[in-house]
């Protein structure tokens, strides 16, 4: 595995949380660099050039969002946010500032590692996800704009293809509503969230085995959507 020896920068002020991140990430074969403050994190990111960063949003010295902006100003490394706040706005704020995904505290290590893997995989591929999506009940070829379900051809609209392509580009990671609306409908439609609700419903009807309990087109309530493909 190419990503197994990846270096991960952990920016977190709580020593106990750093300790368990160090041991669980270390057990998976990652090299861990720790920063106990936001300022230190911004510096360590430049000196250590890690493959990805995990940034706590509730840092005492600077807002985690500032650290994200700082890293984003010179690097495209994946950034995963640890958010203790239940408020969705702070997550969306961090994602808008350039973070790629988030995990809400308290979290299990399984969830964290899945996010880390998705982020690193995405970085390695350079954001060009596979163009053929193998879903539980359907197969979609994004490049040829062909979709089949149970051997039968099904039809998606151009917007449905664009929406699915945008999610597939970030597969496994959350994509904010604003991002999806801007990318698919254009910057003048970033407030038209009902477009997303309606189109996600259509996509689930066409592609999911059970559209009410979807396996692939996942809602992150108040934040955005996530395309989950089987690992």
């Amino acid at each position: 595995m190419a990503e197994a020896r990846a270096t991960i920068l952990v920016v977190e002020d709580e020593p106990e949380i750093r300790r368990f991140l160090r041991s669980s990430l270390g057990a998976e074969g990652y090299r861990v660099v720790e920063s106990a403050s936001g300022r230190r994190g911004s510096i360590d990111a430049q000196t250590h050039k890690p493959d990805m960063a995990i940034v706590d949003l509730g840092l005492p010295d600077v807002d985690g969002t500032e650290v994200i902006r700082h890293i984003r100003s010179w690097s495209a490394m994946p950034i995963l946010v640890l958010s203790a706040r239940t408020h969705e706005k702070s997550k969306v704020g961090a994602l808008d500032a350039g973070a790629d995904d988030y995990v809400t505290k308290p979290f299990g290590v399984g969830e964290l590692l899945a996010r880390v893997r998705a982020a690193l995989r995405h970085a390695v591929r350079g954001g060009s996800g596979g163009t053929v999506l193998e879903l539980e009940a359907a197969t979609v070829d994004l490049e040829r704009r062909r979709a089949t379900r149970g051997g039968e051809e099904i039809r998606l609209t151009p917007i449905e293809y664009r929406l699915l392509a945008c999610l597939a580009k970030h597969d496994g990671m959350v994509v904010t509503q604003r991002h999806l609306l801007a990318e698919v409908w254009g910057p003048t439609h970033v407030e038209d969230t009902h477009y997303l609700r309606i189109y996600m419903k259509q996509l689930r009807e066409k592609l999911e085995r059970d559209p009410v309990q979807p396996r692939h087109l996942i809602t992150e309530t108040g934040v955005g959507y996530r395309l989950m493909l089987d690992e």
């Binding site: 299990g108 309606i198 689930r204």
Partner: protein, 358 residues
Amino acid sequence: MDAKGNWAGYAWAVGATGACTLAGFAMAPRFDLVNIAMVYLLAVVFVALRYSRGPAVATALLCVATFDFTFVPPAGTFTVEDVQYVFTFAIMLAVGLVISRLTEDARAQAREQARLEIAAETERIRSALLASISHDLRTPLAVVSGASSSLAEGGERLSGEERTALARSVFENAREMSEHVAKVLQMTRLETKAIEPDRDWAALPEIAASVLRRLSERLASHRLLVEVPHDLPLVRVDAALIEQALANLLENAARHTPPGTVVRLRAQPRGGELVVSVEDYGGGLPDAELERVFAKFQRGATEPSVSGMGLGLSICRAIVSLHGGRAWAERIPEGGTAFRFTLPLEPAPSMPAEATVP
């Protein structure tokens, strides 16, 4: 009484005296002076009942002066010919003082009563909070410290399987405590109105799917039936809050009904509202409990040992009423309880139609 109330009182003193004088003029040709005095007395009583002592005394003095000047012979002077009118004046003043005093006492008593009631309610919530913290946090804390200390001190003597089981119970109990704390904080925020719902168009099936995904482990012990039509109309809500309200209902059902029983999640539009229901088949609550379970820190009276701070349902109700909906519980004929809430439906926004790719 505050200054503003006092000014209104003095205004009433002048107004009432004027009105009595007008009435007095109308009565004078046919009534005894004593009866006109009674009308003035009425004004004194009226002001004394509504305002504090100052306006009451002012009314009495004004009434006495006006009555004397206008009606008591010789009219047009403050001279009093008949000594009995001095007696009338004394009575008027006394009535004003006595009534304003009585009214003030009654008001003070009512204020004290209200203060005591608030204090009693605060005390009740505080002791219920303490009781629930001691039960709902102390038990898992004991598990966490016990299990983790056996891991830390005797880890190498335990089998791999035992170690995993201990570690897992630390994880589960810690997560439970963290959820409890989050609920207490959330209830406090809702009570102090620190939450402003961030409304947006949302699809209830998406909210339901997200909840079911999040609670899949917790609900695995029950037989879950989901009857949420995929084409429900959109609602304008704070989706994260509604997700929490729904999660609390489902958690409540899983926690308070026996494993293996059915939990049914339903949603349907009905008369301008969306009705969301979580129905369980756990035997049903007694009628007296149906409303009581929504009170803060209340769990079913019959099952004090089941954990859960009993905050879930009151949080659900607070969130739903923040959105202009209602939340309630009712018995269902098959021997269970339905917890329902409504969300108002608004005309859906339009969106441009699109043709499919050929």
